[in-house]
Symmetry: C2
Subunit: 330 residues, 2 copies
């Protein structure tokens, strides 16, 4: 009769424990005034029936669903993953679930996803994107829920979390200077990336703080092939150190160095950016690189989103520090 295949509801518990559903609810949430005996009896029954309260019903009148959406424009790419990981870890501690949605820069898909998420009554939204450039951020304005931009540019009065590209570049360059290098080149990605421009600024800042002149600056695609080609161009008058815009470029540089008979780090020291495990460890020699701490970035975004859901009002663009990971290439 009561042990059929239906998952038990609060009514089943109430009947089995001989109390009203209100009493079960109070026992469950530790609210109201109940005698310890009643509380215990109800809790025992709850465990016996393996009762699990239906969160949807609860949401219905708390107005909070306990879930948020994550819209990625990156097809869950390499950068989105660690962010997701940090975000999910933090939010799950607060019992908040994360819906993932992949929009891939298609406004229609984005709109459809947003509709579905809002219908599901998400309490907040996280927007991530590839880093190319400024994001138009369609109709995410004026949403009735808090929105956080991570690894992507939000609007003015939005809350945005980004890695401190400039600081990371400064870190890398200062490290090279501290190792006695004086002629430091920068081989990097396409300059329509804001990150590329910021890293260049950081490189220049560290150099000029040390009274050094910038050596070569080369822009190209984000690939190993470009790293190889760029280094080849520098071979006639090689610098004594190179700071690269990402790890793939750095690895290409390392390959050309080795094949040209130059030793790394003895002749030319090398620093990458991203600290992408598979690149830095396969590189010969193992690559010193700047870590953007994306997992921490995601975690911080999760904390702030959680706070905003609880009522906090936070805005502004926050840049979180990068870390230099020292390996054999310097």
């Amino acid at each position: 009769m009561s042990d059929d295949r239906r998952t038990p509801t609060i009514h089943d518990v109430a009947r089995a424990a001989g109390v009203s559903i209100g009493t079960v609810s109070k026992a469950l949430n530790g609210t109201g005034s109940l005698s310890q005996a009643t509380r215990d009896r109800v809790m025992t029954t709850i465990r016996a029936l393996n009762f699990r309260p239906n969160l949807l019903a609860k949401s219905l009148h708390t107005g909070l669903s306990g879930s948020v959406g994550l819209i990625s424009n990156d097809s869950f790419g390499r950068f989105t993953m660690p962010i997701m990981e940090g975000l999910e870890r933090v939010l799950s501690e607060d019992g908040i679930g994360v819906f993932m949605a992949n929009a891939t820069d298609d406004p229609d898909r984005e709109r459809a996803h947003l509709d579905q998420l809002l219908a599901k009554q998400i309490d907040g939204l996280v927007v991530t994107s590839r880093r190319a450039d400024r994001r138009p951020s369609i109709e995410i304005q004026g949403l009735p829920i808090p929105v956080i931009y991570v690894f992507s540019q939000g609007g003015e009065d939005a809350l945005t979390f980004l890695p401190d590209d400039e600081g990371g570049a400064r870190l890398a360059t200062e490290h090279l200077i501290a190792q006695g290098r004086r002629r430091i080149a920068h081989i990097t990605g396409p300059d329509n990336f804001e990150a590329v421009r910021l890293r260049e600024i950081g490189w220049r800042a560290a150099l000029s703080a040390a009274g050094l002149q910038p050596q070569a600056l080369l822009h190209g695609p984000w690939s190993e092939a470009w790293g190889r080609e760029a280094m080849a161009r520098l071979l006639q008058d090689p610098p004594d150190a190179i700071f690269c815009g990402n790890d793939q470029i750095a690895r290409g540089v390392a390959d050309t160095l080795r094949e040209a008979g130059l030793r790394c780090p003895e002749d030319v020291a090398l620093v990458g950016f991203d600290n992408w495990d598979v690149m830095v460890s396969a590189c010969r020699p193992a690559l010193t690189s700047v870590d953007m701490n994306l997992t921490a970035l995601g975690a911080e975004a999760g904390r702030q989103l959680s706070a905003m859901i609880k009522g906090a009002r936070i805005t502004g663009t926050h840049r979180l520090p990068c870390t230099l990971i020292h390996r054999e290439s310097t």
Copy 2:
């Protein structure tokens, strides 16, 4: 009065349109019997108020939440991403949201996640894991909802989707044979991976079907360093082709070949596994590789899960075909 900041409910629409909430519901869902005039009037009001029905309330008595969970043990690693992408694309077409949960092989975290997901009334569950070996699959047995294992081993009467590792290996080996190669070695990963064992079987099967003897078989870690080392061991009597257990190993092999003065593909042809873009394109020469079609795998899992939610009962282990991507290394 009615235009305050509260998001509009079906009651607001009913009042504005001068009908009852039941009528609004019928207009919204195209059910019941209503005159076209009433239907139109209600729909107009709905758009005017920008009303969006609360799916939670709906779920409450359809018993379906329109969301599923994805438990990954891979920290959203390289293999999980394309699966997620395919899964999410298919399910979102059915209006089903995907909660992501990262368990990282920690049973406590897995249990906590499962509790939260069940409390949120998910309609189904997808379990993904790193491919190491057989998954104990804690207490996912006997859940009241359909469960699908993707890229991980489910139990007997579960539904499991895996790539056809053996077929992929056969594809690669047959390709090498078709190019006239006769002495085909296999350098691969640790043999406690089921995938490693299956790929070896496929390699042997293709060889023996062509009347060829297996050349060297070497097991090691999944790294470029291992690829370099393994190839070095083969240098005294090099094979004329090598099928590698993944792209990283293949890339290491390619590096050693080049540095030893052997030409690829002229002297030694090379095939990888995974078709990982960043590896196959950075490899010199660009690497022929076996693609596991993980996005398609995820999509198929999504379709089947959707069907199971609608009542279908499907079990068994399904292996989806791999594809060979031909590039310069063969």
